[in-house]
């Protein structure tokens, strides 16, 4: 019996190549067409992978042929850059994928949800048998362990998530924070949504166009504040998210300092994602003010990614232990299945899946 994985990912192929192989086949049709005993198809924006068990070796070309989208069959005659992992390498690869080690953003957790969906879909269609069932259940367990025992998923890597994480490190619970959104652009809307998703309820929106302010306020569940009054709000708010198209600086130390005296025991977190910047960098020198512009947010995201990369070795260690243990147990099962298949051909009962 042969356990293998054949696929394309962002490491080996560009999106144009990946889309030639994504979306054509289902796990069931693939298993039938290629002659696999079990098959599972994992398709995401960054990868197209087939995990399969077969009693004979099935070539990479055969799998590629089954995956290829009809319309692209005549487009490219060059051999697609598929990789192939067999047996314990296949187990290791899946564990790495599920744990987010093979992802474009190391440690991201979306891939685990996608793998679970792919497993459920293949299980429902009957394409998954006892081996892939055990393999994927173990992969989900390994991914959880990696996330729990390392910092691979720590740290935020997008503007919205960085803003939320920093706010949480300053204020703890965000449900009691008052937020002023200055400027109603797309990025500020996304960031505001990220804050709302973490419990922010007191939202004020200010924009040069009052209509746009009202519109965003309605969308995110806040209320609009006239643009002329926004500065006075700094006495009350905890978080200022600014992203106006102003050519000049809107907030300076001279404007802010007198207001801070009335709120000395409460920090003020300012996220300035405008270019050119709305807030003078000198504001960060004021006591209790934490100013992050777009560059510092990017720098935090890069630090988080660097931290995640430092955790890869620890995660690989956890995975290596599971791979050895899992492959030993599954290879015993594979051998038994092979023997059972031989006996079946002689008219004996097949090995029940539950015995595996």
């Amino acid at each position: 019996m042969n356990l293998f994985c054949i696929g394309l990912s962002h490491h080996t192929a560009n999106v144009a190549t990946r889309e030639q192989f994504a979306g054509n086949a289902t796990a069931e049709s693939l298993a039938r067409a290629a002659g696999c005993a079990e098959a599972l198809l994992l398709t995401t924006c960054n990868r197209v992978e087939v995990y399969a068990v077969a009693d004979k070796r099935i070539s990479t070309d055969e799998i590629a042929r089954c995956l290829m989208v009809e319309t692209s069959r005549d487009q490219d005659s060059s051999a697609p850059p598929f990789y192939r992992y067999e047996d314990n390498k296949c187990v290791q690869h899946l564990f790495r994928v599920a744990s987010g080690l093979d992802s474009m953003v190391v440690g991201e957790s979306e891939i685990l949800g996608q793998a679970k969906k792919a497993y459920e879909s293949a299980r429902t269609s009957g394409a998954v048998g006892p081996y892939l069932h055990r393999l994927f259940q173990r992969a989900f367990r390994v991914a959880k362990q990696v996330r729990t025992h390392t910092d691979i998923a720590r740290g935020a890597v997008s503007v919205g998530s960085v803003a939320v994480e920093l706010a949480q490190r300053i204020f703890g619970k965000l449900s009691e924070c008052k937020v002023l959104v200055l400027g109603a652009g797309e990025t500020s809307e996304r960031t505001t949504r990220a804050l709302v998703s973490r419990g922010v309820t007191d939202l004020r929106v200010s924009n040069r166009s009052m209509d746009r302010a009202r519109e965003l306020a309605r969308t995110v569940g806040g209320y609009a504040v006239p643009f002329d009054d926004w500065a006075a709000q700094c006495r009350e708010i905890d978080i200022l998210l600014t992203s106006t198209a102003s050519e000049t600086t809107l907030l300076t130390s001279e404007i802010l300092a007198p207001m801070l005296r009335e709120r000395l025991d409460r920090p003020l977190f300012i996220i300035d994602i405008a270019v050119p910047r709305d807030v003078d960098p000198g504001v960060n020198e004021l006591e209790g003010v934490y100013l992050y512009d777009i560059d510092s947010i990017r720098s935090v995201a890069e630090q988080s990614l660097a931290l995640r990369r430092q955790q890869v070795a620890a995660a690989e260690g956890i995975i290596a232990g599971h791979v050895t243990e899992f492959f030993d147990s599954i290879s015993r099962g594979l051998n038994r299945l092979s023997r059972a298949a031989d006996h079946t051909s002689l008219g004996e009962n097949p090995l029940r899946a539950s015995e595996l």
């Binding site: 025992h149 490190r169 204020f171 409460r266 934490y290 720098s299 935090v300 931290l307 430092q310 620890a314």
Partner: protein
Amino acid sequence: MERYFLIASTFCFLAAVVHTVIEFRTKVFRSMRFNFFAIGLGFIFQTAFLWIRGQELGRCPITNLFEVFVFLAWSVALVYMLVGPAYRLSLMGAFTAPLVLLLQGFALILPIDTRRSVTVPANSWLEFHASMSLVAYGAFALACIAGVMYLLQERQLKTHQLHSIFHHLPPLTNLFAAITRLLWWGFALYTVGIVSGFFTGHPLPRIQVVAAIALWVLYAAILQARHLMWLAPKRVAALCIVGFSAALALLWGITFTAELHHLP
């Protein structure tokens, strides 16, 4: 015999410190539960030591600098057990264990366990005054530790240089709330300690009294400034470190002068 309990206790705190150091090196912090149990076990051994020593002396075991250090370490562990998990301050154990280890390490290594016959009979007011003041010092020590954590977190946020520990330290506002509560607890206990000192019936050295009142005034000023918002949280955190350093210096002075005056 009781010394073995103290050594066992010191090893528990050492285990917490070593565990923390390893986690700092691997940049993975999962120390909360381990440190809590290590400090808890160390606290049990400390209590056993103090109980046996107290039985031996027939009074509260704070008759020399060695015992004072151990009692102070016990107070710090006690306040941590009450406060750390209750305020959900992650990593507080990681910062508490080194301080307790340092206090007990000094007590064990330095030749300060001088057994002298205490001629003055046990005085419940004096014992209450001394023990209450030492428990107050425990609260001040924890406020100092929370202050260090606050400054560490604040510095990272201000400079935008976030290290692995950033994700594990408590939020600034939680730390500041903990600092404020610890200061109030410490101040209340210390006030009770100082007031009870006037009922001991012993003429205490004037320098001791003046220094103790000066420390009380320092903490009262910090609390007043915090209450009236004269000081930013960062400065309050820094003053907690100054205050505890002053408290330690005062403790040393008190024990030194007490030994000179042969006070229990």
